[in-house]
């Protein structure tokens, strides 16, 4: 190997690191501009969790438009600007193109033309909402099993509209007349309005408690209470100790009005005032907000995803050109992206205070990290470039899945009380997720084995033996992890509601993985299959695991209804079909495999029930 080539082993990872570092710079507000990014760090409670307004902005925008940014005249703008316009009732909130509507029938109802990106502004369809309401009323009457794609899009759009309105309504600055009759009338109206929006859905609570007895309140509620306090003070009513105006309401009101009128100085002054008050009276659980805000801007999962793509490309090149240099630079590039990946998972733990896996999103990123870690370990043991490729591809795929899962909103939601036991999340969930990881990893190696064997001549005797051992070893670990993880899940159930095993869909999915892995190992020991057979069965493990990971969640809704056009079910079926195709290929007679010339000569299978191999025999 030439010395000059070796430089790439260092150079590529260093470039990657530099790129990552450049992204870690927090966003700052320009001098003399409205300090919107600072506003983004203010606390708000939504769906039970204290988070920065920035997170609320990003999550809401993702729900509406599938993106964390939006465009104004072709220029990319941060989500917080859109949120500020929306909650301050600025005229711009009607013109931002943030509603993604892809269903043609629904577009027609709303009087919209197809457009690239399918994103529309409120003002474009605002006058057609009456018509939409009629459609919505019809669709809502339908039983879930009768709903088609259009119906589900109507319901989804209604949810988007409701989120959009709730953001605005909860931050409404109340206008109350001064005269007695007007005051009473306006208070009654606003009070009724508040009750109505509170009962219909969950509102963001932007005003923090001042003491332990108070709770977080939506801005509108706090503002109304303030008006009453003020009024009674004017009238000389005896004040209770806690009925002083809320220090947050004044600055908030001024910020919202200033944003609406575009008054930069007024906005920044009010913001500074509010920040000072927060610094002096920090509410509970707000210490991590600045970090979360940084994490939002950094977007480490996105960075890792990009790096995995490059690593996958490098690994493929390393095969084509059989270059140890490329293989080693891919390895170190993977180390960099793995580092970013781990950093991101750690950040989520710090922000939420929960162990890493609390929902599907968490499991996707965790399985990704597990696969990459395992791949790097195997690459270290067998430097053949195979650990690299499986690590890069699984890392990329799992983060891609995670990205699509994140389109549903906040990925760091609070746990249902029954699930709120960190011990179990840290033991059962982690172990069972690692079990998924190992099963997938074995499946990935098996795909590599079969595809290389069938389509290339690179599956030499040595490579085949090494791959066979890797697959076998990983399945063994998959069995251990999935068994222990599944049983721990049962113990959780026993400890929580006295039923170790209830045969519910999620438990059954996990049980099938355990049985499958056990079956593969026993089939191998029984001499029913050899290396190739284990590989074929391991690909089946991908199907079994995906079904348990995503399929059982689809049963409740999917099998009942329009399930098979529903996107998750669609991708799941596509994936299963692809795996079945690979299994089919793997069953082709060896004589037509391209690698046949170099392949291991197949020794005759031992008679069934021969004395079991000693465990030392892998």
């Amino acid at each position: 190997m030439k010395y000059s080539h070796k430089i790439w082993i260092v150079l590529i990872p260093v470039i990657a690191l530099a790129w990552v570092a450049s992204k870690a710079r927090p966003e700052t507000d320009a001098e003399g501009a409205m300090r919107v990014h600072e506003f983004g760090k203010l606390p708000v409670v939504f769906h039970g969790r204290v988070k920065p307004y920035d997170t609320l902005a990003r999550n809401s925008l993702v729900i509406l438009s599938d993106k964390q940014t939006f465009e104004v005249d072709g220029e990319k703008r941060p989500a917080i600007e859109w949120l500020l316009d929306t909650i301050s009732d600025s005229p711009a909130m009607l013109t931002h193109r943030v509603f993604r509507i892809t269903n043609l029938q629904l577009l027609e109802i709303l009087g919209l033309e197809r457009r690239k990106g399918f994103r529309y502004a409120y003002e474009e369809f605002g006058d057609r909402l009456q018509k939409f309401q009629e459609q919505y009323n019809q669709v809502r009457e339908l039983h879930p099993s009768q709903r088609d794609a259009y119906a589900s899009q109507v319901l989804e759009f209604a949810e988007k509209l409701s989120l959009f309105r709730n953001l605005g309504d909860s931050h409404l600055v109340p206008r109350i007349r001064e005269d007695d009759a007007g005051f009473a009338q306006d208070m009654t109206n606003y009070g009724g309005f508040l009750r109505q929006i509170k009962s219909g859905s969950f509102l963001p609570h932007g005003v923090p408690p001042r003491n332990a007895d108070e709770e977080w309140k939506p801005f509108l509620e706090a503002a109304l209470i303030d008006k009453i306090t003020e009024r009674s003070r004017e009238m000389g009513a005896e004040l209770q100790a806690d009925s002083t105006p809320h220090a947050a309401v004044g600055p908030m009101t001024r910020m919202l009005s200033a944003r609406k009128s575009g008054n930069v100085t007024a906005f920044n002054t009010a913001l500074g005032e509010y920040q000072n008050w927060l610094a002096a009276n920090p509410p509970e659980d707000t210490s991590r907000l600045a970090y979360e805000s940084f994490y939002n801007t950094f977007q480490p999962f996105y960075l890792a995803l990009v790096l995995y793509v490059f690593a996958a490309v490098l690994s493929c090149f390393s095969w084509l050109f059989a270059g140890p240099v490329l293989r080693r630079s891919a390895f170190w590039l993977l180390i960099v992206s793995f580092g970013v990946h781990i950093f991101a998972i750690t950040s989520r733990i710090i922000i939420s205070g929960y162990p890493p896996v609390t929902n599907l999103y968490g499991s996707a990123i965790f399985i990704g990290a597990g696969c990459v870690g395992l791949g790097l370990l195997l690459e270290r043991l067998y430097p053949l470039g195979m650990g690299n490729i499986v690590a890069a591809v699984t890392g990329f795929l799992t983060l891609l899945i995670a990205h699509f899962l994140s389109l549903d909103g906040d990925t760091l939601e609070m746990m249902q009380a029954v699930l709120d036991t960190k011990f179990w999340l840290a033991t059962h969930v982690i172990t069972v997720t690692l079990g998924y990881t190992a099963t997938y990893f074995a499946g990935g190696l098996a795909i590599l084995y079969l595809l290389r064997g069938i389509f290339t001549k690179t599956l030499t005797r040595q490579v085949a033996t090494s791959l066979g051992k890797m697959i076998y070893g990983v399945i063994a670990f998959a069995l251990l992890l999935s068994f222990v993880g599944t049983v721990l899940g049962g113990l959780w159930a026993d400890d929580s509601w006295g039923r170790f095993w209830g045969w519910d869909p999620k438990e059954n999915g996990a049980l099938i993985i355990v049985l499958w892995n056990a079956l593969v190992l026993h089939a191998r020991w029984a001499g029913l299959v050899r290396t190739r057979g284990v590989a074929v069965l391991a690909v089946g493990g991908n199907i079994v695991t995906s079904w348990s990971w995503f399929g059982v969640n689809q049963l409740g809704v999917g099998m009942h209804s329009y399930g098979f056009i529903d996107s998750v079910a669609f991708w799941l079926i596509l994936f299963v079909a692809s795996q079945l195709a690979i299994i089919g290929l793997g069953l082709l007679p060896r004589s037509i495999w391209r690698s046949q010339k170099n392949a291991v000569a197949v020794p005759p299978a031992p008679p069934a029930d021969a004395e079991l191999p000693e465990p030392t025999e892998a």
Binding site: F46, L491, D495
Partner: protein, 463 residues
């Protein structure tokens, strides 16, 4: 003796086959899969009874397809969970009898067997509840409590491993794994046959001495003449088969079952569509008619429980018709009926079991996350009284922190409004087995893979 051994071996050999193991595993995977997709239409407990906890079962072809597709109504027979479990158990035991040879000889073997026997006794004692407080609320963190159980399990596993290592040497891990799996299978059999689950619904300030089982209903015929103690004749719902007549000497009349609906709803009987006649002639059924509803599905995210209703015709001993009644679990009131000049009451209700102790709900606390309806914590402060043992103490039962008492465990399971708690009451004497077998299998697998890894590293170093 000399002749019997080979004969036994010839008989056991096919039973011990690894191919049989693989086949049974494949069969069980399909059973679990089919039993899961069947839950789209059927309640989880119906599926457990019909497919898992049985010897033979039938599956309909349509459960494997989206419900919107029209699939021919074909059913095929399949092995039930019990059969698969028994065959796997027999297969495992036979394999150990035939294939897993004891490697130790003489005194070493004797020592190994003694260690194994001791360890087995220790494991048995753990399962029986050694080191567990007899009368106690579970205190402390769930994590510590469970960790402590797992540590006990590890103790048993390590003791068993020691015995296995002496007797089976390098096969010790596998033997241990199989032992753990056998224990788990036995526990599931035991749970299927013997464990009971019931509920207690207690409003604040009320004392209860009975639990009810939402999954099995009973038709209670009640003699309320003694205000202090009611006399109740209860007929389990399994006896309420349409077309059958229930006769018993303690019953004041014969009960002819016209219809029994596993899940139902009630409609206004005065607004029935044309062609529908109300079968009831007496009681609340005159005004309200019960109609059948599909069973609550096991995969339904908003799972509730089935609400059965029944139509019964009462006949006096002389065969005269005393009226047709609609009985439903939807309404709690009892219906009155006069038989031979005596007042009786009828009620279709969840099966009750009376306990020798009583539980009073002192206070119920229920917190949600701010701005949501997600429960954050709910706790029942109860008072447990048992005159038999002179026990009178206050206990808090809350999420993941049950009370274990008198062989039963009380879990905070649900609530009804802000003043009524619902406790899940479970009796399962084998509850400790999974904790122990989990650790036995873990230790076994680690031992086995440890040996494998050791061999691998040795060969790697050699080459």
């Amino acid at each position: 003796m000399a002749n019997q051994r080979p004969l036994l071996f010839t008989l056991l050999k096919p039973l011990a086959s690894l191919r049989l193991t693989v086949a049974m595993m494949a069969i069980s995977i399909f059973l679990v899969f089919a039993g899961t997709v069947a839950q789209v239409d059927k309640g989880i407990w119906t599926v457990v009874d019909e497919h898992f906890r049985c010897y033979f079962t039938w599956f309909h072809l349509r459960i494997f397809f989206p419900r919107s597709m029209s699939v021919p109504d074909i059913a095929f027979p399949y092995l039930g969970g019990y059969t698969i479990g028994i065959v796997l158990l027999a297969n495992l035991l036979a394999a150990h009898a035939v294939r897993f040879k004891m490697r130790a000889r003489g005194a070493t073997l004797a020592l190994g067997l003694i260690v194994l026997a001791g360890a087995s006794v220790f494991t048995w004692l753990l399962i029986q509840g050694m080191f567990t407080k007899d009368v106690a609320a579970t205190e402390g963190d769930a994590s510590l409590r469970v960790l402590w159980r797992l540590i006990k399990g590890t103790g048993a596993a390590v003791a068993l491993l020691a015995g296995c290592l002496i007797v089976f040497r390098k096969r010790a891990g596998i033997v241990l794994v199989h032992g753990g799996v056998i224990l788990l299978l036995i526990a599931e059999f035991y749970t299927g046959y013997r464990a009971t689950e019931s509920q207690m619904r207690i409003p604040e300030g009320v004392t209860r001495t009975w639990t009810y089982d939402q999954r099995s209903m009973e038709l209670a015929v009640i003699d309320p003449s003694d205000p202090a103690t009611e006399r109740v004749i209860a007929i389990p719902s399994s006896r309420l088969k349409p077309g059958k007549t229930v006769r018993h000497e303690s019953l004041p009349c014969d009960i002819e079952v016209l219809d029994f609906m596993r899940n139902s709803t009630v409609v206004d009987a005065s607004k029935l569509p044309e062609g529908v006649t109300n079968p009831a002639t007496k009681g609340m059924g005159v005004d309200a008619m019960a109609i059948v509803r599909p069973q609550v599905s096991g995969t339904d995210p908003n799972q509730t429980s089935d609400r059965p209703s029944a139509y019964v015709r009462l006949r006096a001993d002389d065969g005269s018709d005393l009226g047709t009644f609609m009985l439903t679990s939807i309404f709690l009131e009892r219906q009155k009926v006069e038989i031979d000049g005596k007042q009786w009451e009828l009620s279709l209700r969840p099966k009750r079991t009376y306990k020798p102790y009583s539980i009073e709900l002192l206070d119920f606390v229920h917190d949600v996350y701010v701005g949501t309806d997600r429960p954050k914590d709910f706790s029942s402060y109860i008072r447990l009284r048992d005159p038999r043992r002179d026990i009178d103490r206050e206990v808090r039962i809350w999420m993941n922190n049950p009370l274990r008492y008198d062989g039963e465990t009380f879990y905070q399971s649900s609530y009804d409004g802000s003043k009524t708690t619902v406790l899940q009451v479970v009796r399962n004497d084998s509850w400790m087995i999974p904790y122990v077998s989990c650790m036995i299998v873990l230790v076994g697998l680690m031992t086995h893979f440890g040996f494998t890894l050791q061999g691998f590293l040795k060969r790697r170093a050699a080459s």
